[in-house]
């Protein structure tokens, strides 16, 4: 309200306030492409700068002539206009010279492109699959597989708490790669077209359902590198970033064996005895990551579009159907199959929905344990 009294300065003041109040890491100097940290990314950066400076040079020359004319050839200064309206020599010159400049640009550009397409096997091969709205990584040699979801809290997005330094650029699982080795990415998608972009590696390839695209990189500098989805893929296109961490070989090897351990541990977890509370706690996390976008935190869904889970007949009274829907999705509706989640996660999230929002009191209150999911997958004949 104070702003009203500032009259015509209110907008300027808002802008100034925003500048001061601006979150950390807002950046007036974020002006140019990154050099990145690979040979190819540096080459791409140099190419970009070359073309840029050529354009600047051409612009300066051309606009100098134009601005000069706008200054010196006004009606006041030049009351009688010249009459020339053609000059074949000049026209040929300014057709040929730009053509030659273009050839000069095309040569280094073509060379760099051929290098990028030099598509040979990697020391590490990672299948990257785009989902709505997260990435799945599958290390082919070591048989490790995991999802990476945005880990920025919704509270930050909806301006309830201050934004962290890596706002919208942080995930719950980083992609580790060893330095000094050739890494090949095999990029595809599960549903719609996404695109996997790592600016620091100068890699961008579309993730197309049913097809595989390849890209490669060799990173020599350890560090954390952040990328983004660059093809409109629906609601949360802006909320599925990528984080790759390049580490020394021994740290990489250790991570690989830990991940393999995790897979083994998960198998153990599937068979252990779970309490309802343990399942609900675990399920709440799974729900927040996978279900909240449509069914909402309060389980109410969105009327007419996503059904409510709170008070739902299936969730209350039909444990079999409940499991079936999670395992197979619903044909002709937006509900996908979530069978790619682990048995523990599936059991936990179904149990959570059956217990939360008063569902435990209003329905049969039956919980689902990991073994139920394992059983569902057994042959029935």
């Amino acid at each position: 309200m104070l702003l009203k009294y500032l009259g015509k300065f209110q907008y300027l003041s808002i802008a100034a306030l925003m500048l001061i109040a601006n979150p950390i890491k807002a950046d007036w100097f974020a002006l140019n492409m990154t050099r990145g940290i690979t040979d190819i990314s540096n080459e791409v950066f140099e190419l970009h700068m070359l073309i840029f400076w050529i354009c600047v040079a051409i612009g300066v020359v051309v606009f100098a002539v134009m601005f000069y004319s706008m200054y010196a050839h006004t009606k006041k200064k030049n009351p009688v206009a010249a009459t020339f309206h053609e000059n074949t020599k000049v026209e040929i010159a300014w057709t040929i010279i730009p053509f030659l400049i273009l050839i000069a640009m095309a040569i280094p550009a073509s060379k760099t492109l051929v290098k990028i397409y030099d598509d040979e096997a990697g020391d590490v091969n990672i299948q990257v699959t785009g989902y709505q709205w997260k990435w799945q990584y599958n290390y082919l040699e070591d048989d490790i597989s995991f999802f990476a979801n945005l880990s920025t809290d919704a509270d930050e997005i909806y301006n309830l708490v201050p934004k962290g330094e890596n706002y919208l650029q942080e995930v719950d699982e980083m992609v580790l790669i060893p330095v000094g080795k050739k890494i090949r990415f095999l990029i595809t998608a599960n549903d719609v077209i996404h695109s996997w972009w790592m600016p620091d590696f100068a890699i961008k390839q579309d993730a197309i359902p049913g097809f595989v695209n390849t890209a490669w990189t060799k990173v020599d500098v350890p560090g954390i590198y952040r990328g983004k989805c660059t093809e409109l893929c629906g609601k949360n296109h802006g909320f599925m970033p990528i984080v790759v961490k390049a580490v020394e070989q021994d740290e990489y090897d250790q991570w690989v064996s830990e991940k393999k351990n995790v897979a083994m541990k998960l198998a153990e977890l599937t068979t252990k005895e779970w309490t309802t509370q343990e399942l609900v706690d675990r399920g709440e996390d799974v729900y927040a990551l996978n279900c909240v976008a449509c069914h909402q935190t309060n389980g109410q869904g969105i009327s007419g579009i996503f059904p409510a889970l709170a008070g739902s007949d299936i969730v209350l009274n039909n444990k079999e159907k409940n499991i079936e829907i999670l395992m197979e999705g619903v044909q002709g509706a937006a509900m996908n199959s979530f069978s790619y989640l682990s048995e523990v996660e599936l059991a936990a999230v179904i149990t959570y929905t059956r217990q939360e929002w008063g569902n435990a009191e209003n329905g049969d209150g039956e919980i689902v344990i990991p073994k139920d999911i394992v059983d569902y997958k057994q042959p029935k004949i």
Partner: protein, 527 residues
Amino acid sequence: MSAVIENHHEDHHHGPAKGLTRWLYTTNHKDIGTLYLWFSFAMFLIGGAMAMVIRAELFQPGMQIVEPEFYNQMITLHGLIMIFGGVMPAFVGLANWLVPMMIGAPDMALPRMNNLSFWILPFAFFILLSSLFMEGGAPNFGWTFYAPLSTTYAPPSVTFFIFSVHIMGASSIMGAINVVVTIMNMRAPGVGLMKMPLFVWSWLITAYLLIAVMPVLAGAVTMMLMDIHFGTSFFNAAGGGDPVLFQHIFWFFGHPEVYIMILPAFGIVSHIIETFSRKQLFGYSSMVWAMLSIAILSFVVWAHHMFTVGLPLAAELFFMWATMLIAVPTGVKVFNWIATMFRGSITFETPMLFACAFVVLFTLGGFSGLMLAITPADFQYHDTYFVVAHFHYVLVPGAIFSIMAAVYYWIPKWCGNMYDERLGKLHFWLSFIGVNVTFFPQHFIGLAGMPRRYPDYALQFADWNMVSTVGAFLFGVSQLLFLFIVVKTVMGGKKATDQVWEGARGLEWTVASPAPYHTFTTPPKID
């Protein structure tokens, strides 16, 4: 018999019909031109309002104003409305008003089809806009509507979107046919092809492009319709189809489409620069050949929109080189405009201000286009705000400025009154500053790594996004001033002479201001 003839003869002298039905049933090219222009202005303001919603959300990081689903609807509709409701109808309106007069013809070749071409447009946009209120919301897959996001995963309104696109396409095709038949057959004796005004040439070429590619767009949306409702698999890998096929078909239309949106601008700017430099346009025949080369080349560059799709190396190289080549004829045009001004006798009335800004800022857009053509660099630019900056530079201070320039330039001929020069200049400067403050920073945020079609962004992009939003609001509000200026001029103002502008040449300046309802009912004598 003679009584009938007499009656008919008298009707001519009584001028246009009175009331609303005049506009509904008119077959007069001037009326239809006016209808198209007002329609496009309305759509420009609606599309602009959506841009304000988009920029308001992007003023700061975080979601403040709309949800991501709705944001996607805004960016989709903004694009569709500006392209199919703003730029294209405006150029058709200018063609309707000017082409017959410039070639000494009494009207367009097919006046009744002309009426139909216009009136199906409000119908199409009513359908498109009403999709905002349908269950599932409006189309949310971007104006480029890639499959399968726009087929398997589309909201129910997609069917109305397809219907709407079919109608807009039909309108453009009919309009284009009308333009070609008119120009090829109704020029007054003495108006040879290489004597035609450049605006007429630009529209002749544009019309051929429209006839060639709008049906391909119709094919693409028909295939979408079949995939969605009739179980086909054009774009569905499961059934043996290919999402990339959609992109090839779409961009085969899409690339010529962007030249459709700029060639008439080239024509307009040539007229205005010639008039206000008081000097004949430099290199007339090269200007014609340049436009022809651009049009032909536009058919073989489409995959430069698809460099990251996984095309084979040979294809990427070919499309890179062909795309770079288009810079040559485009450069020739820019040089010729400057050569026209050089040693001319220039005054800077509002049309000339817009035309000069066009030359500079469109060229800037051309430079970012050249950078985008370089495939390895494009891997870093594609689908970022760098692309958004590029196409807004060529479309806003490009196409839109040329339309505004055309309005200021020809409105004294259309309605007989001069616009207010001081207000016109004010509108120009506000728009010029607005457009640059809005779009120049978008080069930065694109290069720094912000993708397009994002409703929210990481913190390092905050500063320039804020600046861009301020510019957008400035630009948006300035267009209300433009509305005021246009209405004020139509209602009254200093009376315009026939010639209007000291250096103006062309048949349209030989008739009275305002132009009589029927002009050149007998062909003019050309020396």
